[in-house]
Amino acid sequence: MTTIVDKESRSVISSAVLSQGTWQKILAFASLIALMVVFSVASENFLQPDNLIGILQATAVNGVLAVAATFVIITGGIDLSVGTLMTFCAVIAGVFLTYWGMPMPVGILAAIVAGALCGSVSGTLIAKMKIPPFIATLGMMMLLKGLALVISGTRPIYFNDTPNFPMISQDSLIGAVLPFLPIPNGVLILFIVAIVSSLVLTRTAFGRYTFALGSNEEAVRLSGVNTDFWKIMVYTVSGGICGIAGLIIASRLNSAQPALGQGYELDAIAAVVIGGTSLSGGRGTILGTIIGALIISVLTNGLRILSVAQEWQTVVTGIIIILAVYADILRRRT
């Protein structure tokens, strides 16, 4: 008898979660479409292919960072270091490729490994040393910003000796196959990162533990799971993804800009939150995050296309973020 009730209530819960997730996506997606319609009506320049590709390209870096932040935020943590970690990884790629003249794959690997290592340091600080995520990653944010400046000698590192490097972000593999769709590789990488991350989150033990950590860490620990290990793993994966973001931005700018990066964590967190991931953990989707990142880019680009004065652009962006999150709260209350 009890088992039946249990099963029933469980299926009710899971269907509620499912419909909630579906609603979430529909709502966020509808906001994105609504924004695009408004901008298309307001300016004929908005819906031009070049501009749409520009929007996608502007989303690539923030989107990848937001995916990285999504993992951490689902565990109920926060990562303030994603922006400067991205920069640090870009600088590491610069050191390997330009200073040491290594082949391109080595530089790519170095950036991702550096990101994962830094992520594992954050994870260890949080899981083992019990430093709150906000503080641990705030420390890492500044530490990495400083290290990026130290290692680069406070100058941008250019990738002129690696002629293929701009290919990572700027060329278009899709365009080579489908000439009418010249989507830059940076965007392709974003999509690949998003799809793989989404599969990892929904189909693997790692994904289940990520959600479980955010829902009830104590219960997970008491059921015999090594929560510290999985938490460190989450920050490691997140760090590795930041490394990928570092490669995209370095490739797009054909340089590692050591002073850049601070402030990018806030854009990433905004994308995650607009996408419906809960800051208190346990709930969230990669698709939502990607839509959130697109909403930010479409909004920024659209307001520019309409020649809205820059001070008002900032005001409108702030209002939209608040509205998006409030709409999410309203929906959850019903």
Binding site: D50, N51, R252, S255, L260, R304, V308
Partner: protein
């Protein structure tokens, strides 16, 4: 609930549409993508550009990223500006290399590019309207040397170590001191992001570490104000030479806290950029560099009409 949601959406979209300026057909549109926006200096450049837009009957927009480190944000702005089918383009590059692919696109579309302020390191721009920062900082060094009697310890508070203006102003000052004033010793060069508070803290630590320090050069508005604040908080009398203007810096000079400062001509930079764009569209020949000039100002000439015209609050 649904109606509430719809209402919110409607308000949001309505608010958005409220900001949409009517698009006029067949006008000459020239976007200016600058290195900054919030700083008073950039607002003065913007004012100059708007004046020229009025005089030459063109439409301009003026945009720049929140911080001078945001190279990729600036590229996104450039990309959006090009999507608006401009007739010409004003651009002050944060990193020239990063902007090259988009500038090539502008060149291919026969959109003349006018570089301004720090300029663009490429042959695509038809001209560059800017201050010679190296020469201007060297003048600051001369004034500093004169005021401290040609010998003693001095220091620099610079806004950053990666931007062109940061590097040029530092090197222009340091090189002049090394070449001409062997008895002057530069004991410290620190960077404060042009942030008033950070530069204040930096100044205080420099002053505490160097009790015999005679003077400090602040390499932009924020740095210079920080130096003034730091010296004031520690109650130390030193020679302060600043850079750029702004209400606080002008006040500090009036009050005698700051000896004097270099001013660029930001209004002129903005004006000449738009003017050059208009000339380029007409097919006029332009010089490769348009020097927008700089001045040293102090208590004695701050109200001189020639100086007052290029200072801004």
């Amino acid at each position: 609930m649904l109606s509430k949601r719809t209402l919110i959406g409607a308000i949001g979209i309505g608010a958005l549409m409220g900001f949409v300026s009517p698009v006029m057909a067949q006008e000459t549109y020239i976007p200016l993508i600058s290195k900054g926006f919030q700083h008073q200096f950039w607002q003065a450049v913007k004012a100059g550009a708007e004046q020229a837009a009025k005089d030459y009957n063109v439409r301009i927009t003026f945009e720049g990223p929140d911080s001078e480190t945001m190279v990729d944000k600036q590229i996104d702005m450039l990309s959006a500006a090009l999507a608006k089918n401009p007739k010409a383009l004003g651009f002050a590059a944060l990193d020239s290399q990063a902007a090259i692919p988009l500038l090539r696109k502008a060149q291919a579309a026969k959109i003349p590019v006018i570089a301004f302020d720090s300029g663009v390191d490429s042959d695509i721009p038809v001209t560059t309207a800017s201050t010679n920062n190296l020469a201007a900082a060297a003048l600051a060094a001369d004034k500093m040397a004169e005021l401290i009697g040609g010998e003693g310890d001095i220091a620099l508070v610079v806004h950053d170590q990666t931007s062109r203006t940061g590097i040029d102003r530092r090197d222009g000052f340091v090189n002049r001191v090394k070449e001409k004033y062997p008895k002057i010793n530069i004991v410290s060069i620190q960077y404060g992001s042009g942030d008033h508070l950070k530069s204040t803290e930096i100044t205080k630590s420099i002053l505490q570490a160097n009790p015999r320090l005679k003077g400090i050069f602040g390499a932009n508005e924020g740095s210079a104000i920080g130096v003034v604040n730091g010296a004031k908080e520690l109650n130390r009398k030193i020679v302060i030479v600043g850079y750029d203007s702004g209400k606080q810096q002008k006040q500090a000079i009036q009050d005698g806290l700051m000896a004097g400062a270099i001013t660029q001509n930001p209004v002129g930079i903005g004006y000449k950029t738009v003017e050059a764009a208009v000339k380029a569209l007409k097919g006029d020949k332009l010089d490769k560099v348009i020097d927008t000039g700089f001045f040293y100002y102090d208590k004695s000439n701050i109200t001189d009409p020639k100086i007052a015209a290029v200072l801004y609050d």
